[in-house]
């Protein structure tokens, strides 16, 4: 024992042991620090993650409510279909991302493998339809039209189709009862997007990943009511998805049913007659353009005059709303929305707008009375009206001498309205009005008739139309003057000249503007629904109603019925005496005026009809036809673009709609048995004790039935000679075939 200390260790060992001890403690310190970081500092975040980890939601989608017509016939309901869907998570677990399985599946379903793959890819900004924009963790439907045989094939060989399921599911069906497809009014559904989910998160009706959302029409307007509330059950689960914890469940509440004022039969008739009218118009020769009318789009509205409820609303061209069910294919989508499509998704009854033509004269007449002109005053109906260097001609140079306002309305004498509007324009101070408010009676009246703003119909995306008053001219000029001033030339082409003029004084109300405006030409734009509201008010004694389609919302169990009452929004600015005069004048249009040639033999004494025809000029296109009519209970407004005159294009179709509703045969006899809706449906369909709604049977095609019964030999008991006999031989007076003149401006539509 020489130099070895008693402890048996040299200082080197001693030091190293201390180092080891420090090292060990610092390691433990590191662990403690990290533990503190995870549990105390970041604890809340991890706790959240943990709860997301072990809670699984099982969503039981609510059955969407049906959309019913006024008698309870389902326009949109649900049917059970065999839906084949693929789980993306399962497919991605396979080596080839499930390509083999999808190819096999495509073969069974008789689809192309490519189509199937496209359907299961996820949508993003760069991916066009078809793609899946729902949750990637949710089964993606591949087809909802699997046959039972295909479903069996998939189910029985489940091991060959991992991640694929075939199950019956409730899917939307647009039943088209009696072939009334009502496409644009009903709208359509598509899966909810991420954005909408985040947006609706904190509202009282949040979306679920699996939700289908109404995208247009009634489906969108009443989405909240129709959708119901999906049932959500929350389970605590373990890592394999086995339920281990207490379940917390919100039961599914099926969506409410929407009863509309639409009558499926009348709807079908309206759709059919509109289509027929367009077909016939396409065979007519247009003398102005030297080719047949194109009649490329049209709309018809049938409205209850005393409530504003829509009985039928059709828009052409149309489409089959069932293409949306189960995800739309790329081809179909392009057909509906592509540049070369005819935009069948548009509801032209509320989204189509054009100048009103002579149907606007009821507004001008009311304005004239308001401005103080005597109803029975003698207003010169000359063959032309000259202002400065411009000549505004009456239709085909007719002249009736001095006539009353009523007569002017009846014969649609342009020059009377030219004169009145011109006088008012001058009174207001001409192109540079005096200080103080110009009276602008004609423009004020248009606003009071509800033009230039939406009617508030319960459908989304209604357009406002336009009243080209001073205010509009000013803002329009501000927006466009730069372009006008750049392209305008004093001695250039027609378009360049117009631009030059507009650049100089486009913000001013010019004489020609006011004159054109008075007969519904120029920059004025109205929608068919606005026209229907005006003529409905004329029919009911002056009350304007907010048009509506929804009539009642009936809960799925039938216990709560929430009625949607008609809503009067104002009165026409017209006295009862004037109203009477206008009523008589518009009746005259049917009996001896511009529409008489289409209503020969109509039982006018039993069912008095009133009408106004109109033909609106559209720059660069054929004229738009308007026909606004009303009976005691209904207003029917039809418009067809590029189809010539109002009575010529639509007279027959509108008459056939009235025929169907009142049961009038072609020769004018009334057969009540054939009447579809002689008076408006006031009661709601009956709700049975189990909550289902009773619905009457509906024939295969009411339109064809009507045509057949109307053309059948008259029944002897009901034979009735029509009251109107006058059958004018000349065409429609409302068609103005003026040459383009300085000062007449047209909307380029």
């Amino acid at each position: 024992m020489t130099n070895i200390p008693e402890t048996g260790r040299t200082p080197r060992v001693q030091i190293r042991l201390v180092v080891i001890q420090i090292l060990v403690l610092s390691l433990l310190g590191t662990l403690g620090g990290r533990l503190w970081y995870l549990q105390i500092r970041e604890g809340d975040a991890y706790a959240k993650e943990a709860s997301g980890n072990h809670v699984q939601q099982v969503v039981e989608p609510a059955v969407r409510g049906s959309i019913l017509d006024a008698r309870g016939v389902a326009l949109a309901d649900n049917e059970t279909r065999l839906v084949v869907s693929a789980s993306r998570t399962d497919l991605l677990k396979m080596k080839d991302d499930g390509k083999a399985v999808l190819t096999k599946l495509a073969k069974v379903l008789g689809m192309s493998a490519k189509d199937v793959m496209l359907k299961v890819r996820l949508c993003d900004a760069k991916t066009p339809q078809p793609c899946w924009n729902g949750s990637p963790y949710q089964p993606i439907p591949i087809t909802d039209e699997a046959t039972p045989k295909q479903a069996l094939q998939i189910r029985e060989r489940a091991e060959d189709f991992p991640g694929i399921s075939a199950e019956p599911q409730a899917v939307r069906r647009y039943a088209a009862p009696g072939k009334a497809n009502t496409a644009q009014v009903l709208g359509y559904l598509s899966p909810v997007t991420d954005e909408e989910i985040t947006k609706a998160q904190d509202t009282d009706s949040p979306y679920l990943r699996s939700d289908q959302v109404g995208r247009s029409g009634l489906e969108r307007q009443y989405d909240k009511e129709l959708r119901g509330k999906a049932g959500v059950t929350r389970y605590e689960v373990d890592n394999l998805g086995r339920v281990i914890g207490q379940a917390e469940a919100d039961e599914a509440q099926p969506g409410a049913n929407l009863v509309t004022s639409i009558d499926a039969r009348v709807q079908r008739v309206a759709e059919y007659e509109l289509n027929q009218a367009m077909k016939i118009a396409r065979q007519q020769f247009d003398k102005i353009t030297g080719e047949n009318y194109k009649a490329d789009s049209g709309a018809v509205v049938v409205m209850e005059a005393k409530t504003g409820r829509i009985v039928a609303m059709a828009s052409a061209p149309t489409y089959d709303p069932n293409v949306w069910v189960g995800g739309i294919s790329a081809k179909d989508y392009k057909k509906l929305t592509g540049k070369n499509s005819d935009y069948p998704l548009l509801n032209r009854a509320i989204q189509g707008q054009s100048a009103p033509g002579s149907t606007f004269k009821v507004v001008s007449t009311a304005a004239a009375v308001e401005a103080g002109y005597e109803w029975d005053g003698g207003y010169p109906c000359t063959s032309s009206y000259s202002v400065g260097g411009q000549v505004f001609k009456n239709f085909e140079g007719e002249s009736f001498g001095p006539i009353s306002l009523g007569r002017a309305l009846e014969v649609s004498c342009d020059t009377v309205f030219y004169g009145l509007a011109d006088r008012e324009w001058k009174k207001d101070g001409g192109i540079n009005p005096k200080k103080g408010e110009p009276k602008d009676y004609f423009y004020k009246a248009a606003h009071q008739f509800g033009l230039g703003k939406v009617t508030g119909l319960d459908l989304p995306n209604e357009v406002t139309g336009r009243v080209p008053d001073r205010q509009w001219k000013e803002s329009y000029w501000k927006a466009n003057k730069d372009a006008w001033c750049r392209t305008g030339k004093k001695d250039g082409t027609y378009v360049e000249k117009i631009a030059y003029e507009n650049c100089l004084e486009g913000n001013k109300m010019r004489e020609g503007d006011s004159i054109n405006y008075s007969i519904g030409q120029g920059d004025t734009l109205v929608t068919p629904i606005q026209e229907a509201r005006i003529y409905g008010a004329l029919a009911n004694g002056g009350t304007m109603y907010q048009p509506s389609i929804g009539k009642a919302i009936i809960s799925a169990d039938g216990k709560t019925v929430q009625e949607i009452k008609p809503k009067p929004t104002g009165r026409l600015p017209v006295s009862q005496a004037t109203l009477k005069g206008m009523d008589a004048a518009l009746e005259g249009v049917v009996t001896r005026g511009t529409a008489a040639w289409k209503f020969g033999g109509w039982p006018q004494d039993k069912i008095p009809l009133h009408a106004k025809t109109g033909t609106a000029e559209v720059y660069g296109k054929q004229t738009t036809s308007w026909l606004a009519t009303y009976s005691k209970d209904y207003t029917v407004v039809m418009t067809i673009a590029q189809a010539g005159t109002g009575s010529g294009a639509s007279g027959e179709a509108v008459r056939k709609i009235y025929n169907a509703m009142y049961g009038v045969s072609a020769d004018g006899t009334i057969n009540k048995k054939n009447a579809l809706l002689p008076s408006p449906q006031t009661s709601l369909p009956k709700v049975q004790t189990d909550g289902t709604i009773k619905s009457p049977k509906i024939s295969k095609d009411p339109a064809k039935d009507q045509r057949a019964s109307q053309d059948a030999t008259p029944q002897p008991d009901e034979t009735q000679q029509g009251a109107t006999v006058n059958t004018p031989t000349n065409g429609n007076r409302d068609t103005r075939r003026r040459r383009r003149r300085r000062g007449s401006r047209r909307m380029l539509t």
């Binding site: 190293r16 042991l17 060990v24 549990q39 993650e49 943990a50 890592n239 281990i244």
Partner: protein, 399 residues
């Protein structure tokens, strides 16, 4: 030399009753290191509760008996405790003479693993299934024999007073002795155990007073070896994946990153006081794999929170702190080396195990001493506790 009896009072005193003898100043019981004993026991019992919590719902492994693992863990603890008493009774110095036998036996068992008798668990071929639900993991015992063997070789000349430090030849011999079982374990491959053994060898060399050159040389060789293993593709795919997942846990949250992610979520969600015993949703939902063995710490983290998980670290700290003291205070180099080797072993294994659940170390299949379920590991660590006690108890005796 005054002789061993000079410190013994009892030789001259009256014969005392059993319990008083135990309480006597110089009694074995009084001289035991109670903090280590207490901590080790506490860790084992906490472990049994955590193992129970983790396995009571795992019907696919507990054979329908929720207490299956609890009972076995307690049994293992009991056997371990008995092994400790046996080790103390035999004494570490007696074991020194038995090193060749122990070494030979453990290496033989290791080799047996490589034969068809061995079986693979979780990618590591390191088990011998004994039947009846019992299995043996010889690499756990090899850790002890490496420590004892190296300590015997390195301390022999020094304790004999011939040399202040072990010479190069002795160091080489000691390294050779360690290298044989390490190579076998690497073949299994059980990389986690190899890592522990490398650290043990390092700790042993440091404590032996071997030249710095050896220490740094070994460190360098270890680094080079790790690089070589990486480059030559000795590692299995799952091992590389584990390291990749460690570097970037969000890499594949459903695959290899899953363990670490779920473990971290479990621990993190515990907060200060935890979800309460048996109330951890991660644990109840079995989101963390291998939770009763390698990931047992996550149960503590989630259900007992920072308080409970911290307690485990503190208890381990007590064991390590006392073990370091024992290493420093014992009179002979042999004891110092053995204690230091055990410190290196426990410290690294604890750090690696807890570190991987906390996401600061890569995932390897190493149990947490005392706490993790597993017989071989439990026996080995208790034997180690016995060795520490034995070194402590014999401290006053002269060499």
């Amino acid at each position: 030399m005054t002789g061993a009896n000079s410190f013994q009072v009892s030789g001259y005193g009256p014969a005392r009753a059993g319990w008083t003898r135990l309480l006597a100043r110089d009694s074995l019981a009084r001289r035991l290191d109670w903090p280590i004993l207490f901590s080790a026991l506490a860790l084992s019992l906490i472990g049994s509760i955590l193992v129970f919590s983790a396995t009571r719902n795992r019907t696919e492994i507990n054979q329908g008996d929720p207490y299956f693992f609890l009972i076995r863990h307690l049994m293992n603890t009991g056997i371990g405790f008995a092994l400790m008493i046996g080790t103390v009774w035999v004494g570490h110095r007696t074991l020194r003479t038995a090193v060749p036998l122990l070494y030979g036996a453990s290496v033989f068992l290791l080799l047996l693993v490589l034969t068809p008798l061995g079986s693979t668990v979780n990618g590591a071929h390191s088990w011998i299934v004994l039947g009846g639900g019992f299995s043996l993991q010889p690499s756990e015992f090899v850790k002890i024999t490496i420590i004892l063997g190296m300590a015997m070789l390195l301390a022999a000349r020094v304790d004999a007073g011939d040399k202040p430090y072990p010479d190069h030849r002795t160091v080489l011999q000691a390294l050779g002795l360690a290298a044989v079982p390490m190579l076998i374990v690497m073949l299994m491959p059980d990389l986690g155990s190899v890592m522990v053994m490398v650290i043990i060898v390092l700790g042993v060399l440091l404590a032996s007073g071997a030249s710095n050159r050896w220490v740094f040389g070994l460190l360098g060789a270890g680094t080079l070896g790790a690089l070589a293993v990486w480059q030559l593709g000795v590692l299995d795919e799952y091992q590389i994946a584990r390291f990749a997942a460690f570097a970037n846990p969000s890499l594949d949250p459903a695959g290899v990153g899953y363990n670490t992610n779920q473990a971290r979520i479990a621990i993190g969600s515990g907060g200060l006081t935890g979800a309460g015993l048996f109330h951890g949703s991660q644990t109840t939902g079995q989101f963390v794999p291998e939770q009763q063995t390698d990931f047992v710490f996550t149960v503590a983290g989630e259900e007992l929170g920072f308080v409970g998980a911290g307690l485990i670290i503190v208890l381990l700290g007590v064991v390590l702190w006392r073990a370091c003291r024992i290493a420093r205070e014992t009179t002979e180099l042999y004891g110092t080396i053995v204690a230091a080797g055990i410190v290196a072993w426990f410290a690294f294994q604890s750090f690696e195990n807890i570190g991987m659940t906390l996401g600061i170390m890569p995932v390897t299949g190493l149990p947490l001493p005392f706490v993790s379920y597993g017989g071989s590991s439990m026996f080995a660590v208790w034997v180690a506790v016995g060795l520490l006690q034995s070194i402590k108890v014999q401290r006053p005796m002269s060499a």
